[in-house]
């Protein structure tokens, strides 16, 4: 018998090239801003400077100043910290709660699965933003409250995705083979199901990350997010709203920041999904 070598095929490149890099660049900018602002900002973004109120963009204040005389560029840099923090923690909480729930439901027999998923549907019907507002009312508004509330509110979406993915994977023959060789449910869940649904979970995580950044901005805008004087992109929007007709550029800068962060995470998610899948390697 002759030995057979694996099919020859030169790996020309990996999937997800341009999309991934666009996402990496956008997120890189946000992360860079957050990191740099820990040690340095051009001006103090938290004080009140009555001598430099509503200055237009110029050589000293790169993007101008707001109604309290604070440098907009400095506020944007510092605000990236809050956005990243809220996004990471909220998505982390959501994934840790939702994914195991979904996998367990997907691997469970009919009735338990039905019960778990109907409870999930009920929580899904409850808007994350409303939950955050209620949490704010009970525990007091703040960054931590917002993060936890957004995390809990997003978890059912993760559970839903994880469960539908799990159902697909459970019907695959390699899971049957693992069962036929006596592997436990825990092993199958961890070694077969989780890696194979990770692609869709990463996409869901990146989309949720964008939504969390947006929700934090919305909460801060409503005065339920990050309390003053810590700068946050959402509150910058809220402040700028009052001067919409006097200095419209004030509303543009945080808007661009939010939009590019959200776009960046979405692109990153798409790109990562392609890159992480061993089947998506471009071959010839």
């Amino acid at each position: 018998m002759t030995a057979i070598k694996p099919r020859p095929g030169r790996v020309v490149g990996r999937g997800g090239g341009a999309t991934l890099w666009a996402g990496v660049v956008l997120i890189g900018l946000v992360v860079l801003a957050a990191v740099v602002s820990v040690w340095w900002t051009p001006f103090d973004p938290e004080g009140v400077f009555s001598d430099s109120i509503l200055l237009p963009p110029g050589s000293e204040h790169l993007l101008g100043t707001d109604s309290f005389g604070r440098d907009v560029f400095s506020s944007l840099l510092r605000g990236a910290q809050i956005s990243l923090l809220v996004g990471t923690v909220a998505v982390g909480i959501a994934a840790v709660l939702g994914v195991p729930f979904g996998i367990v439901a997907g691997m469970s027999p009919g009735r338990l699965d039905t019960f778990m998923m109907r409870s999930n549907d009920i929580s899904l019907a409850f808007p994350a933003l409303l939950l955050a507002i209620i949490f704010g009312a009970i525990f007091g508004a703040g960054t931590v409250t917002a993060m936890v509330a957004l995390g809990i509110g997003t978890a059912p979406a993760f559970a839903l995705i994880a469960r539908s993915g799990t159902r697909q994977i459970m019907s695959r023959e390699y899971v049957q083979a693992a069962r036929a060789s006596g592997k436990s449910g825990l092993f199958i869940g961890a070694r077969h199901v989780l890696p194979n649904i990770s692609g869709m979970l990463i996409v869901q995580a990146s989309v949720s990350f964008g939504i969390a950044v947006l929700a934090e901005a919305a909460l801060s805008y409503l005065g339920l997010g990050t309390p003053p004087p810590t700068p946050s992109w959402g509150r910058m929007l809220q402040d700028a709203q009052g001067y919409l007709f006097i200095e419209p550029l004030l509303i543009v800068w945080p808007g661009i920041a939010i939009a590019s962060a959200v776009l960046g995470f979405n692109l990153l998610g798409d790109g990562l999904r392609d890159r992480l899948d061993p089947r998506m390697q471009v071959k010839r």
């Binding site: 018998m1 002759t2 030995a3 057979i4 070598k5 694996p6 099919r7 020859p8 095929g9 695959r172 023959e173 390699y174 049957q176 083979a177 693992a178 069962r179 036929a180 060789s181 006596g182 592997k183 436990s184 070694r191 077969h192 890696p195 194979n196 061993p278 089947r279 010839r284």
Partner: protein
């Protein structure tokens, strides 16, 4: 000689990276039935899609495709011109009848649409009447009702008949069929093939039938084109090509297709590859050393000869292949019912009988084949044997241990003694895992170095290099993936190997190799084999005993040769006679 219906000249299809079809040329005369045979990846479907002008955007075709009565080269024709030709002058029938029909449209309307689009019928009413007429011509029972059905309400064979009715609606000069019966059961396949042949003969149309199954071509066609890696290597009358193939590839293909022809060791003929193709070198350097089996292996038992029995209607349930002494597998009164979802809110839940009162034994060292059509219950039976599903009633004893209803923790030993090989070479291996982890998976409590050594030895035993270990499944061909599956199944040194359609998804040549490998390993490891398949030929080749399953029951069981040559049960007779065969032509 009249002008050919189809004239293909120097057809080349290329992807951005490489050329897939290397300039093929052929003619099809009016009324001629031509078969195009080749392995997967040989370019046979590309040929059909280029002729129809349905190539994917990423591929480019050059050369010429001329259809009689149309003076333009179809490869260069604009889409609007092609739309007039497709479904009118030439029509195509696809492999998968479910996806080829619109699930939201009644089938009668879909057939009528073909005629209204091409304006071959003056009005909607006439088109609808003619659609019913066509459905009757493709031998569908009560065509008026079928016309009102949605595709999902029909069976696979019925859907394929509807597709044929659509294809024949405008009396095309040329009918292209791409693997039209591959997704169908044996008995249905025979009927559909006969129907295709008769329809084409009645209308004087030409036929281009694409298939991987040489027996199908022998049944329907007059001439055969053999396609190998994008080149036509042989072209001739079916009888001549089957009996005296000229090209080495064709010789190899026909030798491997013939499951009845074996060498002195009972192995299929897999002739050496002709000159290796430059793009995919097949190294033959290392002959892997076989793993040493236990020194004190028991002597090979003389094969147990089963009694030939058929289902006793009305009498006591028969115990098939009853073994005196301790059988390896003993199944008694096994039934499995399913509750079907849906049904009315207040009507009782319909119960589907997957298996009814099945009783049989399998003796040590026996090669037990289970053959049946889709829905017969053969896969349900197999799942019970592997304790992947629980029976509604009845018992399954394997190696003296009752497994029906046993808790998973009591099945440890059973799990290492009974292993399974699945059908789909892609779906049965986790795409995210490396081969080393896949093969090592059934091992419990074995330290990593030892596990790796065993994996390497096992891969060598199935003919794979050690450098396969660090690769992912998608880097292997179908046959290689099936070897990996077999390695995984054998790594625990099981006593029973259960195979579910293990070679059904493979090309003929690869199938022969894998069948020979399985036979070798069964001998070497002294396995008891339970092999489930819809393919009678494969079972006949590999198994010494066969059980025929139909409607959730074993209807007949006995030594393979006896069952095939002297079937007792009417269903077995039907099944055996429906299987397309090349034996009459090759005289084997």
């Amino acid at each position: 000689m009249t002008a050919p219906t189809l004239r293909v000249r120097d057809l080349r299809v290329a992807s951005p990276f490489t050329e897939l079809l290397h300039g093929i040329s052929f003619d099809i005369a009016p009324g001629e039935r031509v078969g195009l045979i080749g392995e997967s990846g040989s370019g046979k479907s590309l040929t059909a899609t280029s002729v129809m002008g349905l190539l994917p955007q990423t591929l480019t075709a050059t050369g010429s495709v001329l259809v009689s009565g149309i003076d333009t080269n179809l490869l260069a024709a604009p889409e609007r011109r092609l739309n007039k030709v497709r479904g009118n002058t030439m029509a195509m029938v696809f492999q998968e009848p479910m996806t080829a029909l619109n699930p939201l449209m009644r089938v009668g309307a879909q057939v009528a649409e073909i005629m209204t689009i091409h304006r071959t019928e003056p009005g909607r009413r006439q088109a609808r009447e003619r659609a019913i007429d066509l459905l009757e011509q493709v031998k569908l029972p009560s065509p008026a009702q079928v016309a009102l059905a949605f595709p999902h309400q029909l069976s696979g064979g019925q859907r394929q008949r509807v597709l044929l009715a659509m294809a024949m609606a405008n009396n095309p000069q040329l009918l292209l069929c791409d693997e039209p019966t591959t997704a169908l059961d044996v008995t249905v396949q025979a009927e559909v093939l006969k129907l295709i042949k008769n329809l084409v003969i009645d209308r004087g149309s030409s036929l281009l039938l694409i298939t991987h199954d040489i027996a199908v071509i022998a049944e329907v066609c007059q001439r055969v084109l053999v396609l190998h890696q994008g080149t036509i290597v042989e072209d001739g009358p079916v009888g001549r090509v089957l009996t005296a193939p000229q090209h080495p590839y064709t010789q190899k293909l026909i030798a491997a297709s013939n499951l009845a022809a074996v060498d002195h060791r009972g192995r299929l003929h897999t002739l050496a590859l002709p000159a290796p193709v430059p793009s995919s070198p097949v190294p033959s350097s290392v002959v892997p050393s076989r793993v040493e089996t236990d020194a004190a292996a028991p002597p090979i038992l003389p094969p147990y000869r089963a009694a030939h029995q058929s289902l006793d209607l009305g009498g006591l349930p028969t115990i098939f292949n009853e073994v005196a002494g301790v059988p390896v597998i003993s199944v008694r009164g096994l039934s499995r019912q399913y509750r079907r979802r849906g049904g009315g809110l207040f009507s009782p839940v319909p119960i589907v009988h997957g298996l009814r009162e099945v009783s049989f034994d399998v003796a040590e060292g026996q090669r037990f084949g289970i053959v049946g059509e889709s829905g017969s219950g053969k896969s349900t039976l197999l799942r019970m044997l592997c304790a992947l599903d629980q029976p509604s009633s009845g018992t399954v004893d394997v190696l003296g241990q009752p497994i029906a209803g046993a808790a998973e923790r009591h099945l440890r030993d059973f799990r290492s003694q009974v292993q399974i090989v699945f059908q789909d070479p892609m779906g049965s291996l986790d795409p995210r895992m490396k081969v080393r982890d896949i093969v090592a998976e059934p091992l419990h409590h074995v330290d990593r170095t030892e596990a790796l050594a065993r994996v390497e030895a096992q891969l060598a035993a199935v003919g794979l290099d050690a450098d396969a270990m660090d690769r992912h499944p998608h880097q292997f061909s179908g046959g290689q993936r099936q070897r990996i599956s077999i390695a995984r199944a054998l790594i625990t040194r099981p006593r029973v190997l259960v195979a579910d359609e293990a070679v059904s998804a493979l090309d003929v040549l690869v199938r022969a190799q894998v069948l020979n490998l399985l036979a070798d390993l069964v001998d070497e490891y002294r396995l008891t084999l339970v092999f489930v398949s819809h393919d009678l030929g494969v079972i006949r080749h590999l198994c010494d005993t066969v059980a025929v399953v139909s409607g959730g029951r074993i209807v007949e069981c006995g030594p393979t040769g006896d069952v095939y040559d002297h079937p007792l049960h009417p269903y077995t007779r039907q099944l055996v006679s429906a299987t397309p065969s090349i034996h009459e032509l090759t005289g084997a």
